[in-house]
Amino acid sequence: MDLKFLDFEQPIAELEAKIRELRRVEFDNDINISDALEQLENKSKLLTESIFAELSDWQISQLSRHPGRPYTLDYIDLMFTDFHELHGDRAYADDPAIVCGLARLEGQPVMIIGHQKGRDTKEKIYRNFGMPRPEGYRKALRVMKMAERFGLPIICLIDTPGAYPGIGAEERGQSEAIARNLFEMARLKTPIICTVIGEGGSGGALAIGVGDRLLMLEYSTYSVISPEGCASILWKSAEKSQLAAEAMGITSDRIREQGFLDEMVREPVGGAHRDFQTTAMHLREALLRHLEQLRNEPVEQLLAHRYQRIMNFGAYIEEPGK
């Protein structure tokens, strides 16, 4: 079993391993089996398409945290030029779980803020698995205010299991740091585009997720609590995560139905982790389109629209006059 693949991806993994093996045989023995190879490749493509055509919500939830998925720094590398990382909250520390910086998107200067997970064990620990501490959110707020001062649009890339639940994080005011960002982002005088690129984990995600647009990659998720967390509280068993994922409606499809989404950004067949380039191209195209729309809005109108958008969040019944 290949650990880089999720369980439902195993048939694809096996077929691909077979193709690689045949290629090796073809090359080493100088024989021509390209017809057979082509057939197998087609089969692999069809298999991937058929598996991905009917993914369950739980499978999508696993894809959204696939260890091979592109992270913020990968997107920065593929979509932006002239990136300069900005470190530190000017008060306590630099939090590597959030990456901030100046960069250009098709020549336009922007401010980028994104959660960052690690690839190998060492980096995972360094990035704290993409779980920010208060200083991460305060760094984000610092650069957002800078972006406001210098008229730069803000691009937020969301990918976190949640804000870090640790002793130090509580001591330094995790709650206040998140709350302050929600408060300030609601009135920041510059366009903000938020995209969930992987895991949108609750308040820790929302703390860089208030803005004028919400985009989600096709196989990303956004939820108030992880399916495992929800299952262990409401079903008293973490094994019911599949049910919890479905009940909460956390996929881009379901969130579009709920009316929160401005755009779902398509991923290549087999998911973003199989083709970083194409995914980045799709996202870049979407970001440019939304930036163009927002740039032309006068600030007063931009803020009024954002406020109305936020006030519309919610589903309730209003009984007629009393």
Partner: protein, 312 residues
Amino acid sequence: MSWFEKLVPSTIRTDGNNKKKGAVPEGLWTKCPNCNAILYNNELERNSSVCPKCNHHMRISARVRLALFLDEQGQEEIGQQIKPTDPLKFKDSKRYKDRISQAQKQTKESDALVVIKGKLKNKDIVAAAFDFSFMGGSMGSVVGERFVRGVNKSLEIGAPFIVFTASGGARMQESLFSLFQMAKTSAALTRLSEAGLPFISCMTDPTMGGVSASLAMLGDINVAEPNALIGFAGPRVIEQTVREKLPEGFQRSEFLQEHGAIDMIIDRREMRDKIAAMLAMLMASRMETKISPNVDEPIILAEAEPLPVVQD
């Protein structure tokens, strides 16, 4: 039941049923969960549900809270016509719909936030209170919308806004609808801030998760009742993550004050006096402009002090 217990004649068996008989009869007495003192209910109520022996602040309902805080006269409820719905048709071991109706029956409230426009020592104020016994005081769409209506009422009448929080956090059964109430309530508070109206956040036991990480921490003045549990992540989650025992008093009001998250701790019995005193000062400059005459008339500088004319 063990074989030995079976031998004992049923008349002298001490099982669960008999134990209950020894417990405090319902309705007359309350046992303090902190010091175990048995307290006479009438006396406890007269003491604002604070244990007279150990000063433990017991959890109280939203209605009781607001009744203790506001003047008796001139109360008007806001947003009670806003009622919960079930946007996701959510079902775990129980339907969300059934959980709502059960909570409504138990608490006689329609959701977890009560908002009242009233008076504090004869001054206008809008006060909101969470009801922890309604689904753990969790914040769903109704809580968010009622909060916003309360803020809007404050803006309309130019009065301060105060919230008493008691909540486990966001309401999971509303998923993203509930998460986004954090953004909604926080955004509404920007308007109060820009209008120069004070927002007081009073955190009571417990104030956790999404409520703590939004409206609760955004007070111009953040206060807490003594020994309230306040934090982002629950103590059990933190313990599981860091695999250490949490320090004594962790995430309690006193801990928060020590770490700079709240301005002060206020005893429930002094809440009215202290909040009223502080609000009077915060509202003082506003009151002055209100009562100063001719405030609507344009001030003509030239008349007040003619500019010197320079002649060469």
